[in-house]
Amino acid sequence: MQLIFEKSVKGRHGVKLPELDVPESEELPQAYRRTKAPFLPEVSELDVIRHFTRLSQLNYSIDTHFYPLGSCTMKYNPKFTEEIARIERFSNLHPLLPEELVQGALEVIYETERSLCEITGMDGFSLQPLAGAHGELTGLLLITAFHKHYGHQKKYVIVPDSSHGTNPASAGVCGYELMVIPTARDGCMDLKKYKEKLNPEVAAVMLTCPNTLGIFNPHIMEIADLAHQAGALLYYDGANLNAIMGKMRPGDVGFDVVHLNLHKTFATPHGGGGPGAGPIGVKKQLVEFLPIPRIIKKDGKFSLEYDKPHSIGFIAPFYGNFLVVLKAHAYILLLGKSGLISVSEKAVLNANYIRAFLKDYYDLPFDRVCMHECVFSAKRQAEKGIRALDIAKYLIDKGFHPPTIYFPPIVKEALMIEPTETESKETLDEFIEVMIEIAKLAEEHPDVLKNTPVTTPVKRLDEVKAARELKLRWMG
């Protein structure tokens, strides 16, 4: 499809603005003005609508395709919560409006914090972090503030080698050095190596639980105890919370800090990359360090408290991604206690169903009951020349968004499949059938898989060329 810039016709215009209803004043001095109007497309409203409507149709999405993108929890995004977020009295509030004019919005924030505390077993929550990785950074800043406050000298952050890339990256951005613990043969962090590395200069141990292999570490409490004994805090990467709601609360088993991804567990849409929201929860001893402002309820009135001397300060311009929070709030109200428990049960059920069916066809590097996702290796197929990437592209042709591939990097030719609880048995069966077909094709007709996808508007794209020639904008 042509770029919208290529469709531009000099002199054409779209949306009309009101006429100036006050007298014109003197123009700005030339020195302050731009010399040439910016090149933006000159198109009609119909041009805009057709262009972006057609573009939209080129995407696979949850609403059109099964989307088992591991670690991303691509579940159904309720339309109801979208409807709620369109209510103007929520969407059109200036963040600096006087508190009396935003009591409803403050209540949403307050109540969501309370729900998340109960779901995770934490004592305090801040909804300010703007995404998961931002939550991680906020969490590490909290941990830093905590240690500084008590005069601890800290230098390291520990992560397992199966961690999300954001964990080490957040540690780096926060100024820590990194220690990486390998994965043992049971798919969990190597406990022995962990003990060896742990030392009094470790600020935090960051864990995903269940981890990115979809495995729940039964020794989690021991890990926590060891961390605490060494003076480190235990950080819970909430990317995989969808597996354990009502089954385990990080706050009960020794985690000190958690972040959640509202766009994963709480079904707010991923938006083609964002926005999300990454609220951060902490145990009692860390509450005083949470970002400001805090939302306070007193005599039925809500207010913003800024006077928190130990707070790490401002992590967001205001109160976080409010409209995302609102959707998550509505979602929690809709599902309630039993609903959320059922979410995790069915997410785990679906993943194990796929695991059970496919383990005869694909290598399962850690063959045990999984939680909400399972990670296969296509190394058997790779021997025939069929890589995870080829499998992904064939799936596209069959109308499925591929799983996450090549992650976690500790699994060769990884295929990380997270079906989520909102998918039905038929959909899983159809997916399984194609995956089995692929395994057979890899044996018998590997060439068929190499030339995929064929049904898409473009065929396999040259990513090397993209990175070498670097065309990052249209130049006309």
Partner: protein, 444 residues
């Protein structure tokens, strides 16, 4: 409500395939000692009940006062096409386009967004969005540290204090020095900047128009900084670029902006849109996703995420940033907004904002007891009263007018100051009503 499709019959069949007798068996790794001490949430409700509750809550909010609040976040009109298009679920329900062949829609839109941002700012390249303006500024600072391998940052007193405080929080644990100049209503204080500027300085951070509304041409500062290989980061207000000299024209190195004004609702603080653009030379130090054009096996044009080796999911600890989720849907809003207005419309929008503000400014200047503190401004300016601004604004609020942002929310000693923003949405009659109400209030 529940979004789970499983019937009891299917559940049974699935358990059989897995070879367990109950779902609970799948959770056997979570031993009894690890089970929740409490999970005390109310039971779920129907859409209909939750809607009633949330509508009742929404009634406790009131965004319908005549509003002159800005401070970096503005009440602009959003054309209907924007909401219509971003409401298409093929746009809002996918994730980051890791698989380009089935994501050309998002990818092309992001490429168009990058192009538009470059054209607006006259910079070489732009990424596909960050969370918001404040984190974009933080990322720009981090870039400058990496690029220059220096450890000092000078922040001009005109930079939005909301972003200054975010910057301080985010860098709290880093071994760097941030020199914050005192608040400065007028153009950037060259003297103070040059006083601090030295070869340890990674970047000077400026803003145009600045937080107080003042317009500046930073070319001279840029020139001075470049002489000692210090970078200049400029935070801008996108709508002003319909009229103002661009950061590109001033030879600025990294540009950041809050994109909320480009078709994104005020949303009580988010989600917003972090814009980041820079010179080509800094490409590999730039954080965030970037879309590049390429061709497919048959030579057909297409788009992919490129330079992913900068990113956390590949590079981990050594990534240029920890960002994963960005603000793609907000960037989509921005590119649709910019296309809907088009070149003419966008320039006109800037024009309307400028002239409505000038009109308001003139009227206020005539009121005894009101001092307009800055001279050249775009669509926001600062006034000083002879009395406490907060109480005057409270009086205006009683008449249904939010007169602006009192500056003591950010600077304790600026009790008598407030910021007034006038967008294209403020009609003449509203401006006149505001001016009259202000007259009354300061004479009380």
């Amino acid at each position: 409500m529940s979004y789970i499709p499983h019937t009891p019959e299917e559940l049974k069949q699935m358990l059989k395939v897995i070879g367990v007798s109950s779902v609970e068996e799948l959770f056997k790794d979570i031993k009894p000692a690890l089970r929740p001490k409490s999970f005390n949430l109310p039971e779920g409700k129907s859409e209909f009940e939750v809607k009633e509750y949330l509508q009742r809550l929404s009634q406790k909010n009131n965004p319908y006062f005549i509003n002159f609040m800005g401070a970096g976040f503005y009440d602009h009109y959003i054309p209907a096409v924007v909401d219509t298009l971003v409401s298409r679920s093929e746009f809002y329900t996918p994730y980051t386009p890791y698989q380009p062949e089935c994501s050309q829609g998002i990818l092309q839109a992001m490429y168009e967004y990058q192009t538009a941002i470059c054209n607006l700012t006259e910079m070489d390249i732009a990424n596909a969005s960050l969370y918001d303006g404040g984190t974009a500024l933080f990322e720009a600072v981090m870039m400058s540290l990496r690029i220059t391998q220096r450890d000092k940052i000078i922040v001009d007193g005109g930079v939005n204090p909301i972003y200054q405080r975010m910057l301080l929080t985010h860098t709290a644990n880093l071994p760097i020095k941030i020199v914050r100049l005192p608040p400065n209503i007028k153009r950037a204080d060259r003297e103070k900047i040059y006083y601090h500027l030295d070869k340890k300085t990674a970047a000077v951070v400026l803003q145009n128009p600045n937080f107080f509304g003042s317009i500046d041409d930073h070319s001279d500062i840029v020139e001075k900084a470049h002489q000692i290989e210090t970078l200049v980061i400029e935070n801008v207000y996108p709508i002003s670029l319909g009229l103002l000299k661009t950061p590109g024209a001033m030879d600025v190195d990294i540009v950041t902006a809050e994109g909320q004004s480009l078709g994104i609702p005020l949303s009580f603080g988010g989600p917003y849109l972090g814009i980041l653009a820079c010179k080509k030379a800094f490409l590999r130090k730039m954080p965030g996703r970037i879309v590049g054009a390429t061709v497919d096996k048959q030579g057909k044009k297409g788009f992919v995420l490129t330079l992913q080796t900068r990113e956390q999911h590949i590079r981990g600890y050594k990534a240029t940033s920890n960002i994963c989720t960005n603000a793609a849907l907000c960037a989509l809003r921005a590119i649709i907004f910019l296309c809907a207005l088009g070149k003419q419309g966008f320039v006109k929008l800037a024009h309307l904002n400028y002239h409505k503000t000038e009109f308001t400014k003139k009227l206020l200047k005539d009121i005894p007891g009101v001092e307009v503190v800055n001279s050249s401004t775009f669509n926001e300016f600062t006034v000083r009263l002879k009395k406490d601004a907060t109480s005057v604004l409270k009086q205006l609020a009683e008449k249904g007018i939010i007169g602006g942002v009192p500056l003591n929310r950010f600077y304790k000693d600026m009790k008598n100051y407030f910021l007034i923003a006038v967008t294209e949405r403020r009609k003449k009659a509203e401006i006149l009503k505001f001016v009259e109400a202000l007259k009354d209030a300061i004479n009380l």
